[in-house]
């Protein structure tokens, strides 16, 4: 999560100081990097102490990346919608469109066409939502719920039509296997990729196997992120800085965000809010559709009913958790993805995270003592102690509970840090063009 600064209090003010984006705010960027560095050191320490190789192994990192991308895209879908002033509960439904059309297109015409179809289908879902809330002024939440129901029903209907029993491997809830996946890349020298026919050395792999403090962990994580990486994942990751740039660095983005903060003010200055909202919702739906198609094409090689598994709602949580910022969304998605990946790769490593948490608490206690704040220090000692106890008591964390982590964390953030969250001021409120002046 990005480090919140006082700049957030007044958006207009912040824009003038060109400080709203984390990507441009030097102090908050250094701070975020510093925090990330310290956390990484503690994680590495935990790994060394507990011998929990899975915590920072390249396999965990690559799995994290794979499960993070759909959540990230869903989170960006929420970000784009809310930034223009529309609450998008329908991300899940738009992802369902994406999985179906992605799976179908990839099976019929190849993975890239599938990806494109998935994105387009998601966009259509976003536009339906936009028509309902912008043109007809329907409550955003109701329209979102309707889209979720519609997407589920309509895609099941399509499956019944298309995937008839005479197609090999197809069924009412599943598409046939796709023939070939989206190509993957291994970076040469770092992860043993090939240059022509020559196989380059796998430097990071060698380092990871040594298991040195910090260096081994860094090598493992980096190797996981640069080896066997799908092009689709690279594109998705690139969308984070692109979103940040478009939303905070361009005229279009400024107008878009102003329509989410105060549409009547924006309109009085000549911003055409209505078309802007359609465009933003098409983008939002496209992101969700991309996330869905990713699930059907990259995470697996066929469409399956229920493939989205509530990731649209996790994405919504990520938007909130990430404080309506692209970098925050990336952080939240990576965190939620890490928990999910660890459950998949090495469930026995999960409880070791409690030791990590108690280290974090210890650090916070030190900080409170330095600043001579007694009560936070005491709270930190209690929490750290509890985490420490849990670490010794718990040998495994059941999968259902790991699954609830994103929701639980988001609720906790909402309940404890809501003063630090700054949602777009007009998100979810009814607005009709020309009214409210």
């Amino acid at each position: 999560m990005s480090a919140p600064t006082s700049v957030e209090a007044m958006p207009a003010e912040a824009d003038r100081r060109s400080g709203l984006s984390v990507f441009s705010n030097a102090t908050s960027r250094t701070r975020a990097l510093l925090i990330a560095g310290v956390l990484f050191m503690l994680l590495s320490l935990t790994r060394v102490i507990t011998d929990g190789g899975d915590l920072t192994s390249s396999q965990t990192a690559s799995t994290t990346l794979l499960v993070t991308i759909p959540i990230l895209l869903a989170g960006l879908a929420g970000l784009w919608a809310e930034r223009v002033g529309i609450v998008n509960i329908g991300i899940e439904g738009m992802m369902i469109f994406g999985t179906w059309f992605g799976g179908w297109g990839a099976w019929k015409f190849g993975p890239w066409v599938g990806l494109l179809l998935g994105i387009l289908a998601g966009s259509v879902g976003g536009l339906i939502h936009a028509v309902a809330v912008v043109k007809f002024n329907v409550n955003h939440v109701i329209s979102g719920v309707a889209i979720n129901l519609f997407a589920f029903g309509a895609m099941r209907y399509m499956s019944e039509l298309v995937y008839t029993s005479d197609i090999q491997g197809a069924g009412i809830s599943q598409s046939p296997q796709q023939k070939y996946p989206i190509p993957r890349v291994n970076l040469p020298f770092l992860a043993g990729g090939t240059i022509g026919d020559w196989k380059s050395p796998d430097v990071l792999g060698w380092l990871e196997r040594r298991g040195w403090f910090l260096l081994g962990d860094l090598a493992g994580i980096t190797r996981g992120l640069v080896s066997n990486m799908s092009w689709a994942a690279l594109i998705a990751l690139a969308l984070v800085p692109i979103s940040a740039w478009v939303l905070w660095r361009t005229r279009f983005g400024l107008r878009l965000r102003s329509s989410g903060e105060s549409p009547s003010a924006a309109e009085s200055l000549g911003v055409r809010v209505t078309p802007l909202r359609y465009v933003a919702m098409a983008i939002s739906g496209g992101f969700a559709g991309f996330g869905g198609a990713f699930l059907a094409i990259v995470s697996s090689s066929y469409y399956r009913q229920g493939q989205t598994a509530n990731r649209g709602f996790i994405g919504l949580a990520t938007t909130i958790f990430g404080n309506w910022r692209p970098s925050g969304v990336l952080g939240g998605a990576a965190l939620f993805g890490f928990a999910e990946a660890l459950q998949l790769v090495g469930p026995s490593s999960l409880p070791k995270l409690f030791l990590f948490f108690s280290f974090v608490c210890g650090l916070l206690v030190l900080r409170s003592i330095v600043r001579s704040r007694l009560i936070p220090a005491i709270n930190g000692v209690i929490a750290g102690g509890l985490f420490f106890l849990v670490y010794f008591q718990v040998s495994k964390i059941p999968e259902p509970l790991t699954k609830s982590a994103p929701y639980l964390l988001t609720l906790i953030v909402l309940a404890t840090a809501s003063q630090r969250l700054r949602p777009p001021a007009h998100a979810g409120l009814p607005y009709r063009s020309g009214e409210g002046h």
């Binding site: 007809f136 329907v138 309707a146 029903g153 259902p400 929701y407 809501s418």
Partner: protein, 376 residues
């Protein structure tokens, strides 16, 4: 708006088109229009995908009006009525309880577990299960209420998160603690409830007596929310919290009360299935009551009578899915129809409300302008 203002002016001066049609007529007409529109849109989808919509609808009516299917319609409408009342209580207080889904699962699971630990005479045992379910549902909704009142957390977000958390917690408790394996049976469930906790079928395997509980819930909803002093305060606070506060109605208290009531009712939605049919909780649990309940409540305009009719319509659609499948028409079309109904009903409501508001404004303007016109 509901009562046309008495006309002080000579009738000849007042054009007929300015007379306000009665609200009930407008509501019924717009709802029928919305459902018709939804059927037309779904018909277009059927036609585009190469199925004959006339055939499909004829088949639906044909199959759905058989006696057995009519009983099934009522049976399927039962949980929807309850879920819709839960949603409607929230709407009346201007709260969006999107968490009925999680609340009813919590209620169902807790009742399924607690019901096996006690020995009671039949009626009392059923009551015990219902109370447990209501308490569990209310408690789960209460979390969102407290978060809203104390921390200002939007109840939509909170209940969405709580839905997912409920699923995880239930899955975990079920897998770790309350699985009950009967040898030779692959269908793993919780320990079955003793027969004293069963609700009897009215018509064997077709219709369960729980429908009376559902109707009682709807009736109570009408009495409490529409006819009692408390209900008036609730609706007043929902319509305009600031105005209600000046009248001494604490909106925070109303939020808590409405959310607890909503959750308690939501807790009951899983009971027809648990007490009337499965008698144990298993992974093949019912789902979608919460979201369909939202659709039913909106289609029924949060009104008790409307909720009953809408729930029956949804029950009808669910009941004809099977026969459609046999007639080689994809049965998922009923899911599509239900979703489109939800969209069209809110769109039509919005359009009608805007037109009614405009007409009221025009009429008032005309009435205000008239004495001046006479004076001139």
């Amino acid at each position: 708006m509901s009562t046309p203002s008495p006309a002080p002016e000579p009738a000849t001066l007042r054009p007929a088109r300015l007379r306000a049609p009665s609200t009930i007529m407008v509501t019924v007409a717009s709802t029928v229009a919305a459902v018709t529109l939804a059927l037309v849109l779904a018909g277009i989808l059927l036609a585009v995908t190469g199925k004959n919509p006339i055939d499909a609808y004829a088949k639906m009516l044909d199959a759905g009006l058989e006696k057995n299917k009519l009983l099934e319609m009522v049976q399927r409408a039962t949980p929807l009525m309850i879920a819709a009342v839960a949603v409607a209580i929230g709407f009346k207080m201007n709260l969006f309880n999107i968490g009925v889904e999680g609340q009813f699962l919590m209620g169902m699971f807790c009742a399924a577990v607690a019901g096996t630990y006690v020995r009671m005479p039949p009626v009392l045992h059923v009551t015990f299960c219902l109370v447990v379910a209501m308490t569990a549902g209310a408690a789960w909704a209460g979390i969102a209420a407290v978060l809203k009142v104390k921390k200002g957390v939007n109840e939509v977000i909170a209940t969405i998160m709580l839905n997912a958390i409920a699923l995880s917690v239930i899955d975990w408790l079920f897998q770790e603690r309350f699985r009950y394996e009967t040898p030779g049976n692959l269908d793993v469930k919780t320990k079955p409830l003793p027969t004293s906790a069963w609700m009897p079928d009215l018509v064997e395997n077709r219709l369960n007596s729980f429908v009376f509980v559902a109707l009682a819930v709807v009736a109570l909803f009408w009495l409490v929310v529409y006819k009692s002093r408390f209900g008036f305060r609730l609706r007043a606070s929902g319509a305009n919290a600031v105005a209600a506060r000046t009248a001494g109605i604490s909106s925070n208290r109303m939020i808590i009360t409405a959310m607890l009531m909503s959750g308690a009712v939501a807790g009951l939605a899983g009971m027809p299935s648990l007490l009337g049919n499965t008698h144990a909780y298993g992974p093949t649990r019912p789902d979608g009551y919460g979201f369909n309940g939202i659709a039913v409540a909106l289609l029924g305009r949060n009104h008790p009578f409307g909720i009953i009719v809408s729930a029956l319509l949804f029950g009808f659609l669910d009941s004809v899915a099977g026969p459609l499948q046999i007639a080689k028409i994809p049965q998922s079309i009923v899911l599509v129809i239900k979703a489109i109904i939800l969209i069209t009903v809110v769109v039509v409501n919005e359009v009608v409300a805007r037109r009614v508001a405009k007409r009221t404004a025009d009429r008032t303007a005309a009435q205000l302008a008239m004495p001046m016109a006479v004076a001139a």
